[in-house]
Symmetry: C2
Subunit: 329 residues, 2 copies
């Protein structure tokens, strides 16, 4: 699979150098690390930081900026950063009011981030966290919910960081983050699998005419394959699966995120967004906030995920709408 | 080729409905037309408008906003809008100070836009235009320059609209636009051809291991195919070809645009950007402004284009840097 890259071993460091150059007004790379740090430091405010493996661009560096993240920690492709780098990021980001970690629910991510949190606390930092588990797909083998952390994570970033920018403390942010996560669901579908740099092998097999429901953001296959009939049918399936996670009624208020998985053009995302709009309008569900674009990708996977956040508090909407210079928003 | 869409005949109207919904705070669709109009009208200021076929998303609607376009006119896929729709957009956008048209250099685009300009002038509007011809690739058959209007067009939008927002009149904008265009060059390369909605046919043939230099933004093949060796080699070829259009030296100042053609992930664009940075640094050429992302796509074509604008006037940089709420910037 052709990719615009050099040696496989250099992909992550060259990616980070490219991001640091392209957005040098906003962020800087801590030399020889996977840490990207916001240039403008704000004191007397909790620093919200996030991270994980690379391969999800513009996540997570695209959310560094005003009213948003103070830093991102970027590991190898689809592999979380080390305890040491997370700890270093906490120490660099802490401006005296503590650090809040947004962690995606994958075993290795949770383990590294929580170990770094413990180390930082032992060193005298105030640190709290939330574990985002918005994926409501099921496992093919046992039909259990997967509840991984996927694209909805960017809504958590924005809301929690917005509250931090408005002066809320760590304990309040932790409660807010839990409330948001419990109201957040995402479901993704692949039209084509991704390929890792340096390989020709697709991350899973998918017939030319089929799509895979319930995929992950590390190239994981979904729970069911079936033909792609139309954007409308796809929107119908995702909207219904997401709705089943709530007790929505006419007048319920949502924020929605239509997320491209890496190689799906904006045209298709916009057509899909239009179909989601029509379905929700039919039911009288109000979309108070929406984003359409590439927010949390999976290398060059083709496809889309849909996120619902039920807006249970008007403040969440205010935080989502705060202006930012973050390049991924 | 699987695409997230419904019936082929509905692609454009559903795309425009999706865009109008996703960005309803910024723009609105004029019902039953391909016109997207900025909600906020600014009087005593020239309205800068642009357009062309669809299939280039986020162009051109992604450039509607503060300090940017007042409207975009969107035709069928890769087909310019009609004289009538362009004329209607001019009439709707004119707030009394006239309208400036940014036209990409394709025969049908130029013919429709100039006919609409003539009609609008006959109706009493003040209208001027620029024809953008930044493509510096060559035709395979006769080695003539193609000089189509491609991704660099978004720099023309931003600079001319910035000057309009600062109160410059039509005649000044026309001169400014000519100066910018004469300093603007773009070259694109495809890793994989695009496919039109409703067909399985690639727009041109390309061996699995090869890339095509000098492609257009309507799926046109380039002037030469060769294997993709590395991002570095690709950057080297594009930088050298672009440099040959100028007499750059150490201290020369550029704005650069690294543009994804539709299905190329941000990771690859960032790695390529990093290679361009290294090459320009070696020569002491200063990059004063840069953008990396999908700005002027060609459906689901994979690949990248590189644009150089030699900054001959400090004001151009100021206009590029003016803040905007346009969703494609």
């Amino acid at each position: 699979m052709k990719k615009i890259m050099n040696k496989s071993k250099d992909v992550v460091t060259q990616l980070l150098s490219g991001v640091a150059f392209a957005h040098e007004e906003i962020l800087e790379r801590v030399p020889k690390t996977g840490i990207l740090l916001r240039r403008h430091r704000v004191s007397n405010q909790v620093a919200v930081i996030s991270g994980g493996g690379t391969g999800h661009e513009p996540a997570h560096s695209g959310y560094i900026g005003d009213n948003f993240l103070a830093a991102s920690i970027n590991g190898p492709i689809f592999t979380p950063p080390t305890l040491e780098e997370i700890l270093m990021a906490i120490e660099l980001a802490d401006q005296g009011a503590g650090v809040f970690l947004v962690i995606k629910n994958f075993e290795a991510d949770v383990s590294h981030f929580l170990a770094a949190e413990a180390s930082a606390i032992a060193k005298g930092h105030l640190v709290k966290h939330v574990i985002v588990n918005d994926d409501c797909s099921i496992e093919k083998v046992n039909f259990k919910k997967r509840r991984r952390g996927v694209a909805g994570t960017v809504f958590v970033h924005k809301i929690v960081a917005g509250a931090a920018a408005k002066g809320h403390g760590l304990a309040e942010l932790a409660q807010l983050a839990e409330d948001v996560v419990s109201s957040l669901n995402t479901l993704g579908v692949a039209l084509a699998p991704g390929t890792l740099p340096g390989t020709d092998k697709c991350q899973f097999q998918l017939a030319e005419s089929e799509i895979s429901f319930g995929i992950g953001i590390h190239g994981e296959a979904g729970y069911r394959e079936e033909p792609l009939e139309s954007s409308e049918k796809l929107a119908n399936e995702l909207v219904n699966k997401l709705k089943s996670q709530y007790t929505l009624k006419g007048g319920s208020q949502l924020a929605i995120l239509v997320n491209g998985l890496g190689s799906t053009p904006y045209m298709e995302l916009a057509i899909f967004t239009n179909d989601v709009r029509r379905l929700l309008e039919l039911e009288g569900i109000q979309v108070r906030f929406k984003k359409t674009g590439n927010f949390m990708t999976s290398l060059n996977m083709a496809g889309v995920s849909l996120t619902f956040l039920e807006l249970k508090d008007e403040q969440w909407l205010n935080y989502l709408m705060l202006p930012t210079d973050a390049y991924g928003w």
